[in-house]
Structure formats: C-alpha cells, structure tokens
C-alpha cells in the first residue's frame, strides 16, 4: 500500500512533452522542426503574385548551379522572380526569424524575465530613433545593398545597447536586473526623442508613412548582397549563442548562484548582451521592428523541449525561422499585390499556438 502511494506520487501530474532524459540532442523534435522549416521555405518560394511549382523551382535552382535537369519549360521571368526576389526574401525571413528567436532566448535567460524580448535592452528605440532620423534627414545612400535607413538602424540599435550596458555597469559589475531597468529607461527616452524629431522636422508628414511602415516591420531584402552581410553575422551569432547555454542554465539559480557555480558572470553577461545586440541589429537592418516573434517563440519551444538552454537555443532558432517564413509568406500573399505588416501574422500564428500549448500543459508555462 505504502509502495503504491509512493510510486503514484512520483508521476508528475501533467508532464510537458519532453522532460525526461539527458538529451542535449532530441533527434525527433529537431527533425520535425527542420522539416517544418524546409516546408515553410518551399511554400514561401512557391507563393506570391506568380505561383511556381516545386518541380520548376528545383529545375531552376539546379540550372543556376550549372546542373541541367531537362529542357527549360518556364518563362525567363520565373527565373528572375525565383532567384532575385523570392529566394532572397524567404532566406532573409528565415535568418531574421532565427536571429530574433535566439536573441529572445538569450535575453529571457540573462534577465530571468519571461517578458524580455530581443529589443528590451535598447535595440528597438535605438534602431527606431536612428531609422526615423535617417528617413527624415539622410539621403538614400547605399553600401553593399544596404540603404542609409538600414545602416542607421543597425548602428543605432548597437549604440543604444552599448549605452544601456555602460549605464548598468557599476564598479565593473553588471547586474542583469540593472540592465533590464536601464534598458526600459533608455527605450522610453529614445522612443520619445524619435517622436520629437518627427514633430520638429519640417515636411516630416510626407515621410511619416515610411517611418511607420519601418517601425511596424517587414522583410525587405532589396539586394541579395544584403544576405551576404547579414547571413554570416546571424549564423555565427547563433552558434556562439549555443555556447552560452551552459551559463544561461546556471543563471537559473540567480546571479549569485551562477557565480557560485563557477560562471564569470560579468564576462558572460557582456558576451550575451553583445551577441543579442548583434543578432537583433542584423535582423533589424533587413526587417525593421518585427514584434512578438522574439518573445513568443522561446516560450513555445520551452513548452516543447523544456528549459535547458542547450536544447532551447537551437530549437528556437529553427522554430523562429519557420514561423517568420510562414508569416512573411502570408503577409505578401493574402492581399497581393499589397503587402500587410508581417507582425500581424507572427501574432496570429504564434499567439494561438502558444496559448494552445500553454493550456495543454495545464497551469505551467514553464515559468513561475
């Protein structure tokens, strides 16, 4: 009898999907997420003003790589659409989604706050302010395919994060709580400075629409060369982020606890902040401010793979990429040729999915 009640007690009442095992690597879920991402990429390339069949897509891709799979059965325009418009756009969406989701995990873990998102320590307002000023005042110069707005946003976001980091550092120590507060304050101040510059700048009403479109976010790869700059930053960033998993796990027990477990917290915090800022800045330069995705994707994946950051980081990168590719495809297909803000679709896809998983898991969100 006693034995019976004991074993009954040991079964957790409502287990999340995967909690058991040592698995740093959960083949099943990674395969599923990879397949989802590939499907999303395929749908993203097929869909649009002109629908391309998967066979045509394969043929064009192989032909551009120098391998012929039979005679050319498509129009010349299809090839241009695929290689110069669709493919860069879809790959851009995947990179941005992966970067934002990874940065979301980094900041939620570092700040130990479930409401943290990639923009929380200054990026959104820094990039937003810089982009606003650039739209209002700078000529549309271009470096490596990046316009002045994209470059300003990248630099502005990084500078704001550096400012926040400097403000949060006291006596050589950088506490995540101070970082969070400094981030909120700098975001607020820069946000109002952005509004102020709109009010003060003469003739700004003619460019307001452009400012708001940028602030709402949307994938904008105007030149495939942009991916050559943004891609490596994001891919390397995601790999380095994976290496921060051990310290992020240790941070679960608090700042002091993490130090006691052997984490050089000041160095790790600096590394994570700069990494998150680089990932977010690179994403912002080709997408403006896409909200919600970096917040909700880590939560969705936490419910699926648990809270071990060495599992959560790669899973979130894959999931974020797939979600943004799908959302972006919807945003440019549903009211084509008009383009809707992609944020609507990240919210429409991610929100219900998160709520579904949350309710499925009972009261537990993984956080407390």
């Amino acid at each position: 009898m006693r034995q019976h009640s004991r074993s009954a007690h040991e079964i957790p009442p409502c287990p999340p999907l995967i909690k058991e095992g040592w698995g740093d690597f959960l083949p099943g879920i990674y395969v599923a997420l990879s397949v989802l991402l590939l499907l999303a990429l395929l749908i993203g390339i097929m869909q649009g003003a002109v629908t391309l069949s998967p066979v045509t897509i394969l043929k064009i891709l192989f032909r551009s790589a120098g391998i012929s799979l039979g005679p050319v059965t498509w129009q010349g325009a299809d090839e241009t659409i695929l290689l110069e418009i669709r493919l860069p756009r879809v790959l851009g969406a995947a990179l941005v989604g992966a970067a934002l989701a990874t940065a979301g995990v980094l900041f939620q873990g570092l700040l130990r706050n479930p409401l943290a998102d990639p923009y929380i320590i200054g990026t959104s307002a820094g990039a937003g302010f810089a982009a606003t000023v650039a739209i209002l005042m700078l000529p549309p110069a271009s470096i490596l395919g990046f316009g002045s707005v994209a470059l300003s946003a990248f630099v502005g976001g990084l500078l704001a994060v550096l400012l926040v980091y400097r403000l949060a550092r006291v006596d050589g120590r950088c506490s995540p709580v101070t970082l969070l507060l400094a981030g909120v304050v700098v975001n607020a101040v820069l946000g109002y400075l952005g509004s102020l510059s709109i009010v003060l700048f003469e003739g700004s009403e003619f460019r307001l629409r452009q400012v708001f479109t940028w602030l709402m976010g949307g994938i904008a790869v105007n030149d495939p060369r942009q991916l050559l700059a943004v891609g490596p930053i994001i891919v390397v960033g995601i790999i380095v982020a994976y290496g921060c998993g051990v310290s992020l796990n240790a941070l679960t027990v608090g700042e002091e606890g993490a130090r006691a477990l052997g984490v050089d917290l000041d160095r790790e915090a600096r590394r994570i902040v700069m990494l998150g800022a680089m990932l977010t800045g690179a994403a912002v330069s080709i997408s403006g401010l896409i909200g919600f995705l970096g917040l909700v994707v880590p939560h969705i994946l936490r419910l699926l793979v648990g809270s071990d950051h060495r599992r959560l980081l790669p899973a979130s990168a894959l999931g974020g990429a797939a979600l943004l590719v799908l959302a972006d495809t919807a945003a440019r297909s549903i009211a084509a040729p008009a383009e809707l803000p992609v944020g609507i679709f990240t919210a429409l896809l991610g929100g219900p999915l998160f709520l579904f998983l949350l309710r499925r898991n009972g009261k537990e969100s993984g956080w407390r």
Binding site: E10, P12, G245, V246, N249, T252, A260, D264, S307, E364
Partner: protein, 280 residues
C-alpha cells in the same frame, strides 16, 4: 610539510555600504572538520559564508583556501573546490531534478560539447547520495521543502567540492527532515572526509551534530570551540539576551540547553492575562 588548513581567515574585515559587516575575523578550519556557525539574525553568518566562497571580497585581511589566496582563484577554480548550499532556491522556470543537479557541473562543462559520461556519473552519484535517484525526472518546483533541500545539496555535491558551505540548511524543514538533513551532512563529513561549515540557528541540534561551534555576534567571533565551551549560560545570555539553563544530554553527555527559570516572567504574564479574562 604540515597539512594546510581547508580555509583560513586572518584579520578579515568586511563592511557593507550600510556600515554593517564583519570585523577582525580570525578563523581556521582544518580539513575534515565539521563546524557550525551560530549567532543571532544579522550577526554576519551568511556574510561570512559568502566571503569564504569569494562572492564578497574582504576590505582588509586575507582568506586562503588550502594555502592559496582565495581572491586570486578564478570563479571556475573556486566552484570546483568549494560548494555552497543556499538557504532556498527558487527557479524562475521549471527544471527537472536531474537538470538542477547537473547545474552543479557548470564549472566542468565545455561550451559546445554536452555533458561527458563522467559528468553524468557524478550527477547520478550525487543524486544517490541524497536518496533522490528515482526522482530524476520530477519537476523541481513540485517538490516538498525537504526534497528541494536535498536536490540543492546534490547540486552542490555534483561540484565535487572539498569544502561544503551550507547556509541554514534546516531552516524551513520539519523535525524529521531536519534530522535527516543533518545526518546526511554528518555522513558526508565522516564517510567522505568532506570539510563542512554550516550556519545554524538551533543550538541543541548544532551541539548534537557538529564537533565545533563558532558563535558570532555583531560581526565578531565571541566563542569558538567544542559545544561544551560555547553553549554556556553566560555566552548565550551575552549574545542572545536570553537566560538559559545548560544541562548534559542524558545519553550523549553533550551540552543541552533550555530556557532558564526566569523565563517564568513570560509564563506569569500569560497567566495574568487569562485571569483577567472576563469569561473565566
């Protein structure tokens, strides 16, 4: 060569910005000792432990661990030699018992490779040591207070420390779990030779389970020695402001303390109150 002490504090001063702190602490803990740190709330027990873990740095004086300067050791080196069991551990999001214990391996893990077989074996052994081997997959946040305390202890053991610091390990436990925890700590000390230093509140249990007591008051050490030398009516009155009677434990011969007769003041006040009660 003489055996170097596990940890040694010489003339350590530490002051918080508020002015509160420790003053002139000289303390030498030999390897294999089992020591309790006692004292009223705010006497500096936790501060002392944090200094020994290198989380705080002394304003004056030196702390040496096994003969080398603690301040010169990296966080990683400290974590592999000294482990701390905090008073309580709240997780912002849930982890399984095994995942929490694995956190103890943080200082051994490489950035990109997963835990090695050796790490998993150490984790398994740590869980076995606290009798939690069958609970590895349970969510930490659903455990009882006694079980959580054992998980935290296992996490500390997974660091494979040579010095174990505990911050009031039995503070929120019931009597049964208090005894289990203290027995476990004594076992680790006796069977594995782990040097143990624990802050405690209960004087009688400290006297039962520890060989040496260090009594702190207002940031100073006022008594240091075996229970018989520390638990005396005059010292206890001086430090805690409470009159006590100290007898011998009938079975073990160690000092055993209870409130002294002039605590009747308390009882008589209560009787007066009940006499004054209108319905009696």
């Amino acid at each position: 060569m003489a055996v170097r002490p596990a940890i040694r504090l010489d003339g350590v001063h530490f002051t918080y910005p508020s002015g509160f702190g420790l003053a002139g602490i000289d303390l030498c803990i030999e390897r294999g000792e089992r020591v309790a740190i006692l004292g009223p709330n705010g006497s500096g027990k936790t501060t002392l432990l944090k200094l020994m873990l290198g989380l705080l740095h002394p304003g004056q004086g030196t702390i040496s661990f096994e003969g080398s300067d603690l301040g010169g050791m990296s966080r990683m080196a400290v974590a592999r030699a000294i482990a701390m069991v905090p008073q309580e551990l709240l997780l912002p999001y849930d982890l399984t018992v095994r995942e929490v214990v694995l956190l103890g391996r943080t200082s051994y893990l490489s950035r990109y490779r997963g835990p090695a077989d050796e790490d998993l074996e150490v984790v398994r052994a740590a869980m076995a040591a606290v009798d939690l081997l069958s609970s590895g997959g349970r969510p930490y946040n659903e455990l009882s207070g006694g079980e959580r305390q054992r998980v935290i202890l296992a996490m500390a053991l997974a660091q494979q420390p040579r010095l174990l610091l505990l911050d009031e390990p039995i503070r929120s436990l019931d009597l049964n779990h208090q005894i289990r925890m203290l027995s476990l700590i004594r076992e680790l000390n006796v069977k594995r030779g782990l040097t143990v230093l624990s802050s405690m509140h209960d004087l009688n249990l400290s006297s039962l389970y520890f060989d040496r007591l260090v009594l702190l008051s207002s940031g100073r050490i006022v008594a240091d020695g075996p229970p018989g030398e520390v638990i005396r009516p005059d010292t206890i009155h001086e430090v805690f402001g409470v009159s006590v009677l100290v007898a011998r434990h009938p079975g073990l011969g160690i000092p055993w303390m209870t409130l002294a007769p002039d605590a009747r003041d308390l009882l008589s006040t209560r009787e007066d109150a009940s006499e004054a009660h209108p319905y009696r």
